[in-house]
């Protein structure tokens, strides 16, 4: 068993980095995820189909293509990348933040789908009732809508996290494979498989990958059940 826990510093780095990248990707996608899901579930506007298609694009495009598009837009000389670097000091290219961006984008369609479904299931009559009690739309959203979609929100967040843990193609295309900076678990496993004698390391990281993903799934299950019980949905 020793060989399993006896990770090299580089391997530890990959594990830590993966968790960090996936967590940031998930948290950062939540606000825009809820906003877009609301828009798609309830909005009536021109170009809704287009927006829907755009959101789902990362799901159907080859990850390498998504990664390359990110490189073009958010790279050092890309329009968005240059703007953000100049005005906010946020740099994506060849940084772990770029890995987070790539992972967030790849998991975004999954998150939006889950949240959108739960918003569509909300009984709008509840919101009308809250309105007659004096709650303005912002209060209605935060005290009625948000608690009612919490299970969907959790499901969406976990899906996004899991997707981020496994993301490989877009990340490696956008921010490359730099140990300690952008080398997440999948990239590290890939690197091991490319060198002679790397089998053991690859297997170790694979098992760790499985454990983290399973833990995330179980956590979401428990959380969703607790929320469900609190709401007494029969």
């Amino acid at each position: 068993m020793n060989w399993l826990l006896d990770l090299t510093p580089d391997e530890w780095n990959a594990v830590r980095l993966s968790i960090k990248v996936a967590t940031v990707a998930m948290l950062a996608s939540l606000p825009p995820g809820v906003a877009i899901a609301l828009l798609l579930a309830r909005g009536q506007f021109w170009g809704k189909t287009l927006l829907n298609g755009l959101v789902h694009l990362p799901l159907v495009l080859p990850p390498v293509v998504t990664g390359y598009l990110l490189l073009l837009t958010f790279g050092k000389r890309g329009p968005a990348g240059a703007f953000l670097a100049e005005h906010f000091g946020i740099v994506f290219s060849f940084r772990w933040t770029g890995a987070s961006l790539a992972c967030g984008v790849m998991g975004f369609p999954l998150m939006v789908r889950a949240i959108r479904l739960s918003i569509e299931a909300v009984d709008r009559k509840m919101e009308a009732a809250a309105g007659t009690l004096g709650a303005n739309p912002a209060w209605v959203f935060s005290t009625i809508t948000l608690p009612l979609i919490l299970p969907g929100l959790i499901a969406g967040a976990i899906l996004s996290f899991a997707k981020a843990m496994g993301e490989f193609g877009a990340t490696i295309t956008f921010v490359s494979n730099i140990p300690g900076e952008t080398q997440t678990l999948p990239s590290a496993i890939y690197t091991f498989t490319q060198v002679p004698g790397g089998d053991e390391g690859a297997l170790r990281l694979t098992l760790i990958s499985i454990v983290i993903s399973m833990a995330a799934l179980v956590a979401s299950e428990v959380l969703a059940r607790r929320v469900g019980r609190r709401m007494d949905i029969e």
Partner: protein, 370 residues
């Protein structure tokens, strides 16, 4: 306190064109399903924006399409009790009740938790979740929630329609207390003659999106011809009476009314208590001379003041009994045989057993024998 509604609105093929004004304690919007009453109440609450018209509560303009005024629902301070309760499933009963309080300016909060909880008898429910309540309990909590927002006006959209008879009987007394013990005016939507006759001080009768009659309950309920077809059998005179005494030997209560004494099955009320009764037109017989050898106990002398054709082979006769009008539905054949005409002196005969819970409000748990 007054409510003024004057709107026209189209919903697909259905057009509403209604105007009414009421200053009653409890105004019933009454009509068959599809007559537009729920749409009207939703407009007062601000849930539907009318195409054209205005809505004023106590002189405060809530909607005036001409002037471009539309006060959003959360600024109207109008409480609403929905047919389906709509309690928030993720909150306890207590949190549901407190919800509206947050949004009411402190200076305008007049409802206090303890008295509302006491009024509606919901003390034992406070810690529960809405999913664990019965239909009647949910409805009482929903009423409490609306009240605790200290509204200027309370709207009730068929609050009893989805409940069975036993649950209805459980809630009705609470609504009566609400009407009599709080100062808040109520607009109540219903399609049931029994509910309207028992609760309403004023009635606005609606059919196909139009107001067909409005005014005090006793007057409007005389218009049997305006009642929805399925409720016509329930139609009849509404009389306000007082409990005079109980007849313990035979288990009866004697009520005093303008028309004279009326004997009904024993009511659980103290002498002096007001009772509103409804005498169904189909339960009233007419005699041209004072009947003898008859089992019916209530024989009210009066004068015929109205004769109008009813449905099919029937006529509806209005009899003025010393200022109170009693309605009778008889066959055209009987009318001709008895030679009934306007101004004729007759006796209206009503069996004591034709009174029941539905038309006397009998057997209520709230009032105890004296």
């Amino acid at each position: 306190m007054s409510v003024l509604v004057d709107i026209s609105h189209r919903l697909g093929d259905f057009a509403i064109d209604a105007r009414f004004e009421s200053a009653g304690r409890l105004t019933a919007l009454f009509g068959p399903s599809g007559s537009g009453k729920t749409t009207l109440i939703n407009m007062i609450a601000g849930l539907i924006r009318p195409d054209k018209g205005c809505i004023e509560i106590d002189g405060r303009v809530l909607v005036d399409t001409g002037a471009g005024i539309f006060v959003p629902r959360h600024k109207r301070r109008i409480g609403m009790v929905f047919q389906d309760a709509r309690l928030f499933p993720h909150m306890s009963v207590m949190s549901n009740l407190r919800y509206g309080r947050w949004f009411t300016p402190a200076a305008e909060r007049y409802a206090d938790m303890d008295s509302v909880v006491e009024l509606l008898g919901i003390g034992p429910l406070l810690g529960r979740r809405p999913a664990k309540l019965s239909g009647g309990e949910k409805q009482r909590v929903a009423i409490g929630r609306a009240l605790l927002a200290s509204p200027r006006l309370l709207l009730m959209d068929e609050p009893l329609a989805s409940l069975d008879e036993a649950r209805k009987a459980e809630i009705l007394p609470y609504i009566e207390r609400l009407r009599d013990e709080t100062k808040i005016p109520i607009v109540y939507v219903s399609h049931s003659v029994a509910e309207v006759a028992r609760l309403a001080s004023d009635v606005v009768m609606l059919a196909q999106g139009k107001v067909t009659a409005s005014g005090p309950t006793e007057a409007v309920m005389q218009r049997l011809d305006l009642l929805p077809a399925e409720e016509r059998g329930e139609g009849g005179a509404v009389l306000d009476t007082k409990v005079l005494r109980h007849d313990e030997t035979f288990g009866m209560t004697v009520l005093g009314s303008a028309a004279g004494e009326i004997r009904v099955p024993r009511l659980a009320m103290k002498p002096g208590a007001p009772v509103r009764i409804r005498i169904r037109a189909r339960d009233v017989m007419i005699a041209t001379e004072k009947p003898t050898g008859l089992s019916a106990l209530n024989i009210l002398p009066g004068t015929i003041v109205a004769i109008s054709p009813g449905e099919g082979a029937t006529v509806e006769i209005g009899i003025d009994c010393n200022g109170a009008t009693v309605l009778a539905r008889i066959t055209e054949q009987s009318r001709q045989v008895l030679k009934l005409r306007l101004g004729g002196k007759v006796f209206a005969v009503v069996k004591t057993v034709s009174f029941d819970r539905a038309n006397t409000g009998a057997g209520l748990p709230l009032e105890v024998d004296g």
